[in-house]
């Protein structure tokens, strides 16, 4: 076989979700023994591209070739049998099963004897698989829910490696890992490289990419931009290619001063709830308070609790005047607004019009007595959605036809129209393209200037650092660190507190 033939070739891949074009005519290839970094901003299509390669979803058009042969897997099982394996960004494990069962999920028949599952044999094999990746500290018979987030990720790694893949896709796994966990993963990647196998590596951390990868391919807004070899790695160049322009200073907040106002508008006192343990904090007027941590550190539940959606087991949520926030109705009386991380399921009615969604929170204001008139609704919308420049045909358009960024704008318009003073924003820029992202940051700064307060919960450390007056890092439900806004704050520093 021709040695120069790429292991995997992706040609003219396209994929859209509704009107959002996630990938447009993307082509790249992967050599044997290559570690290929895939970089780009959020929503640039990295995860979409790799999940198509691992066949978690199907491309709309385009071809893939594995060792020159057409590669058209119908589902992830076929992908794995072709030697393509992916470690997901999101959690891909089953909490209620044991580690061993997680490692061999879908392959249980290997251990079936006379129609019964041989658990002992399965545990033994699973332990071997864990030892191979130097994660022997995890016991195969343990229940997965007893492990911390990092170890759960390693279980996933063990599962992927056990199938002996030719191509391993690592999708932003490292943000969940400590130095030790990262070293384990880097070790595996280098070993694969030595064996002539290949890795596709996605990460937000440019330093990491430059350290580990041989080549990087840059995507932007679903379009292939460029591919650079190791010798050309140069942070400013990479960043410029990712964002498409010199990274402007006003992308995040430019100022380095933190909020001086001491007036408390919102506080939590010793909150215990599910994964949250003893969290207390105060929010000041005109402050952006950022919460960072791993996906399951409890910060998302904290947002729920803050808005009164989930009742805490212990402790109290209070508005500035001491009113206890028991439910969303009380929260809204105190002018608190909340946008969920799961915007499409929880914040917006996607099957309804833009108009219905924006007005929903403010019928008290719009209605005359019990009656609602069209013209009052339209006037209300005009007053509150114009500034946001939502891209739409008209306000009767359905939410499900909008792109992620525009959906988020509708969600914001709903609460701006309501006249909220405190905004709880859970992952406000999740799945949103750069242009709209900048708009949303701009809006947050504007709100801050008007003396409104914002609690921003985010899994993206860069935006937490870039936007917050104060940063609180959660780890396993507890506050592990709190930082004032200052120049020296870096992602690496905060990661130490996260894991």
């Amino acid at each position: 076989m021709d040695k120069m033939e790429p292991l995997l070739k992706v040609a003219h891949m396209c994929k859209s979700f509704g009107i959002t074009k996630a990938l447009q005519d993307v082509s790249f290839s992967l050599r044997r023994g290559q570690i290929l970094g895939l970089i780009g901003e959020n929503g640039s299509g990295k995860s979409t591209a790799t999940s198509i390669i691992a066949s978690l979803q199907q491309a709309d058009s385009g071809k893939m070739f594995l060792e020159g042969e057409p590669y058209e897997p119908k589902n992830s099982v076929e992908a794995i049998s072709n030697g393509v394996c992916m470690i997901l960004q999101e959690k891909g494990t089953f909490d209620l099963l044991t580690v061993a069962k997680n490692v061999f999920v879908g392959k249980e028949e290997m251990f079936v004897k006379h129609g019964f599952l041989d658990n002992r044999e399965m545990v033994k094999e699973a332990q071997k698989a864990l030892d191979v990746i130097h994660a022997g500290h995890i016991r195969a018979e343990a229940r997965l829910s007893s492990l911390n987030f990092e170890d759960r990720k390693l279980v996933e790694v063990a599962r992927a490696i056990y199938s002996n893949p030719r191509i391993l896709v690592v999708d932003e796994t490292t943000t969940a890992l400590s130095r030790n966990g990262r070293d384990i993963l880097y070790g595996i990647m280098r070993k694969m490289k030595k064996e002539g196998k290949s890795v596709i590596f996605i990460s937000h951390d440019l330093d990491e990419i430059m350290e580990v990868c041989d080549t990087v391919t840059i995507l932007r807004d679903g379009i292939y931009i460029d591919t650079l070899e190791k010798s050309d790695f140069h942070p400013p160049t990479l960043r410029k290619l990712m964002v498409g322009r010199e990274v402007a200073d006003n992308y995040y907040r430019a100022d380095m001063e933190s909020c001086k106002n001491k007036e408390v508008v919102f506080r939590m006192k010793n909150i215990f709830c599910k994964d949250v343990k003893d969290v207390s904090f105060e929010l000041h007027k005109g402050e952006i308070l950022g919460f960072g941590g791993l996906g399951d550190c409890g910060m998302h539940i904290l947002g729920n609790v803050a808005f009164g959606l989930t009742e805490p087991d212990l402790g109290q949520v209070e508005a500035g005047d001491g009113t206890v926030i028991r439910n969303p109705t009380v929260a809204m009386k105190k002018k608190i607004a909340y946008i969920s991380k799961n915007r499409d399921q929880e914040t917006l009615m996607v099957s309804c019009s833009i108009k219905d969604n924006i007005c929903l929170a403010s019928y008290d204001k719009i209605a005359k007595g019990p009656f609602i008139f069209r013209k009052d609704e339209n006037a209300f919308i005009d007053a509150h959605s114009k500034d946001l420049e939502i891209k739409m045909q008209d306000t009767n358009q359905y939410i499900m036809e909008l792109s992620g960024g525009n959906k988020q704008k509708v969600a914001l318009a709903k609460w701006l129209g309501f006249g909220a003073d405190i905004f709880i924003l859970d992952c406000p820029t999740r799945g949103i393209d750069i242009g709209v992202k900048a708009n949303i940051y701009q809006l947050m700064m504007e709100l801050r200037k008007q003396g409104k307060s914002i609690i921003m919960i985010s899994e993206e450390l860069s935006e937490v650092i870039g936007m917050s007056d104060r940063v609180i890092i959660l780890k396993e439900g507890k506050i592990s660190g709190a930082f004032k806004r200052e120049e020296e704050l870096t992602e690496l520093m905060l990661i130490e507190y996260m894991v």
Partner: protein, 312 residues
Amino acid sequence: MSFLKKSNINFRTIFPFLGLIIIVTLFAILTKGKLFSLVSLRSIMNDGIYVLLGTIGFTFLFAMGCMDFSIGYNMGVSCAVACVVANTFHIYAAIPAAILTGLCIGIVNGIVVTKTRIMPMIATMGMMFILQGGVLIILNGSVLQAPLSMTGMYTNPLKIFLIIIFIIGGYVLFEMTVFGRVAKAIGACPEAVRQTGINADKYKVIAYVIMGAIAGLLGFISLARTGSATNSTGVTLMFNVMNAALLGGVPMTGGPTTKFRGAVLGALTISFLSSGMTILRMSAQNQQLVKGIIFLAAIGICFDRKNMKVIK
């Protein structure tokens, strides 16, 4: 894609009109015009008022994605209670008695659905079984006669008045008030409504109370029209109302595509269908059969399976 979507919306909008026109024309031809005689128009109004009022009440529940299976027997119980009250006190006392009975049953339905979080379909089905027994207990057998003077209460002007009031009032409440907007929002996404600080449970209870009160009123109408309460009073109401709502293109899942005109159009369609078949001397069993087939066909045509995956 956008063309498909557009044509889809258009079809769903015209479907109720189309259904009504087809049914009316079909039976006008089959009955050789007898469908429009004064006698049959009067009988259409007499039968249709149950379906129309019932469907109008049901639309609010449908919009929220809720159900009430107990309306038929609610009507039966209300009718029986009204009959007892008319016999023991005064015939005019039967009106509040019937409406209050229905309303109370509605309150219980609403509270059970919202507090216990049992699926509306199951909870109200339970209520249906309870009421089924309740009718028999109140009637102490099968039939209870009301005072003869009662039949004089139910005049044509009253019927027409009720129909007009319900259509106008229902339209205003459904399309032009906060209650109507929130009802549709609950059907579209209950979690979003909760996360907007709206007490959805309150609105659900109100909708069940409205439905219950209407069922009670229908119980009184039935008593005044027939002069008696029987254990079969109202048994066909539930089925006819469901059928009317579906023929009117009211989506079972609720949400923003619920239109008030659908309820009215569907009720008219069912009324013409029933009367047309009666004029053609079809037996009750065969009528039931035809309605059953139409019921399934209406679900098949109207049910928006494509969007289901996206929405829920």
